[in-house]
């Protein structure tokens, strides 16, 4: 059984490796196009939301810390559920704030049609948001399962969830710095 979970971890790492190449491709495409556009942001377009997203990044990072705490508590056979709930809440919070910002940008006239500036934002940030949603669904699934079974979950499944979540969170600074800050 212990062996099987190692195999699963290996499979997940291989999957994440190909995901990293995907984001590397996406971000280099972003840089190539951006370097050819003289005015960034183009006239009449809003700046990508720097400040709100800084706050949102802190939320995302704290969710990794709380998940780490949950795993630690589980290994000590203490109450880990509350930490897991906080993690799920923080992750959802991140997604909601991102969504609200999208609405604001659309209202400010950052469309998709014929707008490479807007398109890059929606594709890169949108794809990351989908990954956050996927990671979040895994965590919610683990949470519901352990609430239903009323026994502590296997630490292996939580570990797999944590590795994927760590990938999603640690990816974010590259996007935040590349798109919002610089």
């Amino acid at each position: 059984m212990e062996n099987k979970s190692k195999t699963k971890l290996l499979a997940l790492i291989l999957f994440i490796a190909s995901e990293i190449m995907f984001f590397a491709g996406l971000l280099s495409a972003y840089w190539v196009i951006r370097s050819q556009i003289p005015n960034w942001p183009p006239p009449g377009q809003p700046r990508y939301p720097l400040e709100v997203t800084a706050f949102n990044s802190i939320i995302l990072f704290s969710s990794l810390a709380t998940l780490w705490m949950a795993e630690k508590k589980l290994s000590l056979k203490r109450n880990y559920l509350s930490w897991l709930i906080v993690t799920v809440a923080a992750g959802s919070c991140f997604l909601i704030i991102q969504g609200v910002e999208w609405f604001r940008l659309i209202q400010q006239g950052m469309g998709l049609i014929g707008n490479v500036y807007g398109g890059l934002f929606y594709v890169v940030v949108g794809v990351h948001a989908l990954h956050v949603a996927a990671g979040l669904s895994v965590l919610i699934y683990l949470l519901l399962k352990s609430l239903k079974m009323k026994t502590a979950m296997e630490s292996d499944s939580l570990q797999l969830g944590k590795v994927y979540w760590a990938f999603v969170v640690l990816l974010w600074p590259f996007i935040y710095v590349g798109l919002y800050v610089i």
């Binding site: 062996n3 190692k6 195999t7 290996l10 499979a11 291989l14 999957f15 490796a17 190909s18 995901e19 990293i20 190449m21 995907f22 984001f23 590397a24 491709g25 996406l26 280099s28 495409a29 190539v32 196009i33 050819q36 556009i37 183009p42 998709l112 049609i113 014929g114 707008n115 490479v116 500036y117 807007g118 398109g119 890059l120 594709v123 794809v127």
Partner: protein
Amino acid sequence: MSKKQSFLTKYIFSQDHKVVGVQYMILGLLMALVGGYLAYVFRYQLAYPNQSIPGYGVLEADKYNSAVTMHGTIMVFWVAMPILLSGFGNYLLPLMVGAKDMAFPKLNMLSFWVFFVSALTLISSFFVPEGAVGGGWTTYPPLMANPGFTGVGWGAPLWILAVALEFASMLMSGINFLTTTITMRAKGMTFFRMPLFVWMANVASLIFMFSVGPLIAGALMLLADQLFAVGFFLPEKGGDPLLFQHLFWFFGHPEVYVLLLPALGIVAEIITVFSRKSIFGYKMIIYSVLVAGVLSFLVWAHHQFVSGIDPRIAAPFGLTTILISVPFAITMFAYIASLWGGQVRFSTAMLFAISMIVEFLLGGVTGILNGATASDIYMHDTYFVVAHFHYTLFPIVFLTSFAGIYFWFPKIFGRFMNETWGKIHFWITAISANFVFLPLFFVGIAGNHRRIYDPSLFEHLKDFQYLHVISTIGLFVLIGAQVPFILNFFISMFKGKKATENPWEANTLEWQAPSPPGHGNFITDPVVHRWPYDYSLENTEKDWCPQTEAI
């Protein structure tokens, strides 16, 4: 009712790696019929322009573009990859490392059914309004980014969807191959006791997994261009069409090795068995392939020498391209050295394997002319390039697959294929293929651009029309030669001569399992004592030594 269910779980929704492998092979062969039919249609047009094609009708110019595009797409993604990597890989890999099944059998089943859906999606694009996509298998923008140019509304997004599903399926297979090889090897099966095919399939999976991401990123942006008219790849919107070419070929060149490596693995297993000699330079081959795997990520821009990239970028890519031929030259020489002085048994499988080496060498050598920037600027986008990559891909995809099928058929179905019909199949296939592709070098040098619908319209090509006719007649023969193969395949499945466990007297583990192996593969768990290439050892009465035999 219960009997029907067991048929369903045994042959249709099976988690057994062997059934999944055979499913991949058969679907790949069916798709090859579609790809071959398309080749027949556009080759007919090229030899006899604007005449009614038997079994199709008159081929319009836009449908010509669709036929060429879909031929390339199908042969690379729906024939080569599923047969060579997923088909043989799934069937052989667990057996060769001595495992009972893949690490994730359910994921394996899922990967096949995702592949099945991807094939349906691709085929369905023939029947949507405006038909299948016609922008070439490389799907370059701005042609592909703007429906206004091609008139293709539905075909292009469906193409992207189908390819994305296919890649998802290959990703699942690749993860399974690597985890199975790393964690499930039999006792005593060290990495350097693994058959070359296992090495090759794993390196190919790694190359695929590290190269496919950037293409998916490009495809996603292309899809956004098609559906929402964003303009990522349209210069007038501030986008960059060259960017897509970079993303495509960052994947596209390594993809060549995703196909080549499993083929080299299959050929290695076959030539050692039938020359009764150990492989020459086992570790050297492995290291060469690893080096080539890394280099394959550094050559992509050689596809773009005439696309307007900076010559200062072109030069280093020309250099890496020449460099990458070195490890493959080493591998090829190792194979030839393995044949040298052996007691060669000319079975059908062996004939196909040898012909693969011979024809692939011609493809490899002509590639150097494309890799060198100076000659490529003249050759680029002519039939010379078409001839070159068909001389690599035809041996990789078809000659190797046939070799593998004739070789492992007794293991898979417990019966032999007919050798006489096999040899008839071999000789006609191997010879007629040269009639198809050799003339194309010459029309290419004569200046025939590869995407011309009707070469007879061009004054400078009129004298070379007879070469197109030879090529097309060669194709008729080549396609006809597959009839005995198909009949042989299905008749032998039920009526062929019964095979024993190890009919070819081979060393690798799959020949220690029953023919065909049951679910779970081995009767007793194999223990490995030696590498797989101990043939014709001194002081032994038989000239082979299975990996399970103690030293």
